[in-house]
Subunit: 160 residues, 2 copies
């Protein structure tokens, strides 16, 4: 089982994993829009972001995004934020999630991070037990504010 940054060729497989809630999504059915291409290139080109995948043979079976954040707390150490944790629907329940997280935490430790942090939807109580079993403390509440893009200037006085 290999754990490493995803390649561009694996982008459809990663998007399929992220779309996969209850059953496997076929990567061939995924539309890779220009926005996703750009977002992947942004992650791939940023030394503080990684889209990490767990690969079994040729198959991408898990993924997560790690962001390494410089900061003035924790004595100046980076913190690692983990997002977009997924295991392929037909490979759940066999310890792959634990393996994925274990390797991500180890990678953050080797990098010198002082902390790993993540948030999980309050309704996902099973995920909460999983993170607690890995040693994470549920010490914080997570707040989100969705944004709408501002209207283009040409619409500012429309309909006038």
């Amino acid at each position: 089982m290999i754990f490493r940054p995803a390649t561009r060729a694996e982008l459809p497989a990663v998007l399929a994993l992220l779309a996969d809630e209850e059953q496997v999504v076929d990567p061939a059915s995924v539309v890779v829009t220009a926005a996703y291409e750009r977002a992947f290139a942004d992650i791939d080109g940023d030394p503080r972001n990684e889209m990490l995948v767990l690969v079994d043979g040729e198959l991408v079976v898990g993924c997560l995004q790690a962001t390494y954040i410089p900061g003035l707390g924790k004595g100046g150490a980076e913190r690692c934020l983990i997002e977009a944790v997924r295991i392929r629907a037909d490979r759940r329940g066999g310890g792959l999630g634990r393996e994925l997280m274990r390797r991500a935490v180890e990678r953050a430790r080797e990098r010198g991070c002082g902390l790993v942090q993540l948030t999980s939807d309050k309704r996902r109580t099973e995920a909460h037990r999983f993170y607690a079993s890995l040693g994470f403390a549920r010490s914080h509440d997570g707040f989100k504010l969705p944004l709408q893009p501002p209207a283009p200037a040409c619409l500012a006085s429309w309909p006038g």
Copy 2:
């Protein structure tokens, strides 16, 4: 009231704000270690990180760190993570926190972010009411795992 990225000259004032829990800490009393120098340079040199300050005249009265995270969710839009929100102890209760957050959200929106997110310690119920009043939904639980650095290789077989 000015809102902009902190300058290197303001680093002691920002560290004083971050150390300031109940009463004002004098920036002149802050020891700016090499680790803090490096962390500030990392933030300042990274196009996806900003240490933002609210400045009244010559006085830094508030700060927060914004991290703009590229990602494959939200149609490929960046999300803005906010950390280290502080208002100077002797300037609280006058709406400056609201002004600081309002400007940070506006900055994220103008940048094209699809979401602003933050976490707050579960014990800080007053802060939770504040974020809710700004439109944030408390939808997630925040998990943290502090890391110890790995032992240096020379100690691997010690005491042997």
